[in-house]
């Protein structure tokens, strides 16, 4: 307990006193490789912390689409999907995935330049593979000079014998990549072979327009030789970037004296969503009690007084996107269970509910216990005093003051069924709307999509018990034209994905779910039915998590049968038992780690490591990798399953406050090893945001 309180205080101190992430005082622009740099050459400037950018560039038969994320202030990663024309012959391009890392060794100072080290295309086929050490110095806020030394592709023009050869002869040669089935880290090549110098200047004329010139050490040997895509007449490249909008940057280049190139970068950052604090309307102000009325208990003698108060609380909550699950009003204490549909910052839901209670309940009720609930499971009991609400509403440090006096505890058995709102069960809800299904990385047609209508129904049968389903009807699209022939040495648990994509009318899911609290600090889930696109069966999960702990432990057991390709009610022959033991840990500053170990859909055993950066506004960006007992050559192309995870708060796109987030998983390659069941509403994410209220406490008074 003591440790956690200290951690909490430190974190809260950070939450309140950290200045918002500001743009680098000095300018930087993006290169063709999607990271801060010149044109093809990198620079030593990091992007803003937590910034991510999508860059698409086209030049002489090479198209590169890069997604870059500045995961830490000093470390960024980029994932690239590129096309190189004619690689396999006329009209037969290579579609290639590559991954880069860059680390900031030195920050730019008064005298010293910024210095960074980078690795490009460290996994896979390696058509862009290079390493570099680079320095950048600003001569004035708008003019920066960059110089560096590169290896690999960046050491191919005017190269010289590797200076690292002094350490060992091994560095003098660069072995060709034996990438097998791809997907493996090709460290054997790093910093080996000839090196070459590169450099350039960037001049930000205005805060929208930047001119760049560089001396490129990339000889484009492949493209000018075997592929004959263009002529390398000069190592000098010239470019201009124009910031058309906060989030749209256009580039144009003159490359190697013979070609023009174009590109666009779309930067964004979870730290700068454009609506600081959200777009919600004003909360109910605290209603301060007249001291004389606090001792008045005469209202307890009239039962209708309580009923009227409950009804008023219910309507007030509904106006602010909260639903009353239950309310118990006693002479000096009230316990309110709420469902939150609107506030991603969970503490905001608590703060608004508390203020509503203060404006409705009789003056003698001094203690408020507010319990957020999800699918019948009480998640945490937040106990605060009405006097504190009155005292700290408008104090400059009101958020810290009331947090200090608030108790957050486990709420396993907090709900007495008598107090439950009778209108909640049974209840039927439905909605219809469009859906968009996208598919990328198919070599024949990298972007496929379907658009159609989806009908979603939800029937709350009893507390914790929900029947829900989604039916999709495709309107148009080309996902079903994909003709992937992917041989697999494993049972085809995921590689038939495109077959499922052909269904025009599809039962996405139809499940009966039961959520429950078996014990203190324990949460449970049972899901039965058509769980996801490809599998039906039963999924069960238990999660152990203490309210004040950054650590959680879970176990999941599933038994599923593979569904028919038409996503109807039928089945194929394959069935399997899968399950995992999971450990979760919240590090400081929103970084999260997860380790799952168990059995995957193809019957393989192994583990998944996930690491993500989460933000209090609901954004999450992370990556995972799964290693199982399936040997790399049996797994097939890619060697092992890996992907990028992005969660976006729904309110970001719709500009309306929404409490949900949508998660998308980007997998460069879809094969059958390390495949996990995709079941909805897994417990950890449901529970965690209501335990770490400190994280969003800045919005308590919002």
């Amino acid at each position: 307990m003591k440790f956690s309180a200290t951690v909490r205080k430190v974190l809260f101190g950070l939450a309140v006193t950290c200045l918002p992430a500001t743009n680098h005082a000095q300018s930087y622009s993006f290169s063709n490789y999607g990271e801060p740099g010149l044109i093809d050459m990198p620079s030593a400037q990091p992007a803003s912390d937590a910034e991510f950018a999508l860059t698409v560039t086209q030049f002489a038969g090479a198209m590169r689409t890069t997604l870059m994320f500045q995961a830490f202030p000093r470390l960024s990663g980029s994932f690239r999907y590129g096309r190189m024309d004619d690689y396999f012959g006329e009209d037969n391009p290579l579609w290639d995935r590559s991954f880069d890392l860059r680390y900031q060794l030195l920050d730019e100072g008064e005298i010293l330049p910024a210095v960074a080290i980078g690795l490009r295309d460290i996994v896979g086929t390696g058509i862009y593979s290079s390493e570099y050490l680079v320095a950048t110095k600003h001569l004035s806020p708008g003019i920066s000079v960059t110089a560096g030394i590169g290896w690999g592709r960046l050491g191919s023009f005017n190269g010289f014998s590797n200076p690292l050869g002094g350490i060992s002869d091994k560095f003098l040669t660069r072995p060709t990549r034996d990438y097998g089935v791809g997907g493996e880290l090709e460290a054997a090549q790093w910093f080996r072979g000839d090196a070459a110098f590169f450099g350039g200047i960037a001049w930000a004329v205005t805060d929208r327009l930047t001119f760049k010139a560089e001396y490129s050490s990339d000889a484009y040997a492949h493209e000018t030789g075997r592929l004959d895509l263009f002529e390398h007449r000069s190592p000098f490249n010239f470019g201009v970037t124009y910031k058309a909008h906060e989030r749209v940057i256009l580039h144009a280049y003159a490359m190697h004296g013979s070609e023009f190139g174009f590109g666009v970068t779309l930067p964004a950052s979870p730290l700068r969503p454009g609506d600081n604090g959200g777009v919600e309307t004003a909360p109910t102000p605290v209603a301060v009690r007249r001291p004389a009325t606090i001792g008045d208990l005469s209202w307890t003698k009239t039962p209708t007084a309580t009923l009227a108060a409950k009804e008023t609380v219910r309507t007030q909550l509904e106006k602010q996107g909260l639903e009353m699950e239950a309310l118990r009003v006693e002479s000096t204490r009230a316990t309110l269970h709420i469902r939150n549909f609107r506030y991603v910052a969970r503490a905001e839901a608590i703060g608004r509910a508390a203020r509503i209670l203060s404006s409705v309940l009789p003056a003698s009720v001094e203690t408020f216990v507010i319990v957020p609930v999800h699918q019948g499971m009480p998640l945490a009991a937040v106990t605060l005093k009405r006097s504190d609400l009155e005292r700290f509403e408008y104090k400059i440090d009101g958020a810290e003051q009331i947090y200090r006096r608030t108790e957050i505890s486990d709420a396993a058995f907090s709900l007495d069924p008598i107090d439950r709102d009778p209108n909640l069960y049974p209840r039927f809800r439905w909605s219809i709307g469009p859906y968009f299904l996208g598919s990328i990385f198919d070599p024949d047609n990298p972007l496929r999509f379907d658009v159609g209508a989806a009908l979603n129904v939800q029937y709350d049968i009893a507390p914790g018990l929900v029947l829900s389903g989604t039916l999709r009807q495709k309107a148009f699209g080309n996902v079903d034209q994909a003709d992937i022939d992917s041989p697999s040495a494993l049972p085809r648990v995921r590689s038939d994905a495109f077959q499922y994509g052909k269904a025009t009318t599809a039962l996405s899911d139809l499940t009966l779910t039961y959520n429950f609290r078996p014990a203190q600090n324990v949460y449970g889930r049972l899901t039965f039915g058509y769980l996801e696109m490809m599998y039906a069966g039963i999924s069960s999960e238990l999660l152990w998590k203490r309210v004040d702990s950054p650590f959680a432990l879970g176990v999941e057991l599933n038994y599923v049968k593979q569904r028919e390709f038409d996503q109807g009610l039928g089945f194929r022959d394959y069935e399997v038992a899968t399950g995992h033991v999971s450990a979760y840990y919240e590090f400081a500053n929103g970084y999260r780690g997860q380790l799952d170990m168990g059995r995957y859909l193809a019957g393989d055993w192994g583990g998944t490591m996930t690491f993500a950066r989460t933000f209090a506004n609901g954004w999450e960006i992370g990556a995972y990798a799964t290693f199982t007992d399936v040997p790399f050559d049996q797994f097939g192309e890619g060697s092992f399953d890996k992907g990028i995870i992005v969660s976006i708060p729904l309110g970001y796109a719709s500009r309306e406050p929404r409490g949900e987030t949508r998660r998308a998983v980007l997998q460069p390659i879809l094969r059958d090893g390390g495949a996990r069941l995709s079941v909805q509403d897994r417990l950890y994410d449901v529970v965690e945001s209501y335990h770490d209220l400190n994280n969003t406490w800045g919005e308590f008074w919002r």
Binding site: A282, A454, F615, A616
Partner: protein, 218 residues
Amino acid sequence: MMTSWKYGVAGLVLSLAAACGNDPNQPDIISGVRGAFSALITPRLGAESQGPTVVQIRKSVTPEFRAANLNRPVLIVELEKSSQAALLVGVAVNDRVITYLTLDDVSLAIADGVLIATRGLGFDLMAADVSDFERALVSGGGPTKRVHRYLDGEGKLFNRTFACDVAIEGRTITETCEGEGQAFTNTYATNAIDWIISSRQWIGPEHGYIRIEDLGIE
């Protein structure tokens, strides 16, 4: 609530399921689409600038209007940047702070004529420490300190501290402040009994100044 869509078609699924339907908690399809475009084009600042002028609003505050609002205190405000004017009615009192609310749920918290918080504007002033300023009013002016609190993009609180100078000339008070790359000047006009009856106050870098006219309770 987290829904996880990992559809195995080697890529990305975005489901914009939106209402028609009887589920009030599903997003509205129209605003969703509009919102998606506006998110790309411009970050949202405040409401559009249309609607009544300050003069029109002042005319609408009749004795009947006041009676209908239980003779609560009334303010007329105008956001300078957008020229948007609104009428606010006092709905709550906490110590010396009165919380005023507009029809479309924007609120201002005013302590003895000084704005100390806004809600519902977006980029709101979450809280302000103006105790130094209040002391200076009593002592006749001088150098003071002012602290503003806002939310950053992630929803975390941060403070901005300003060094100010307060000058009192007859019924006009001028507060000139500077700090952390910002500079602003608040002006206040008092009546015969030293109550602030109108003012021009700075909310923050995104909103700029707001003009406040206190019409009191009658």
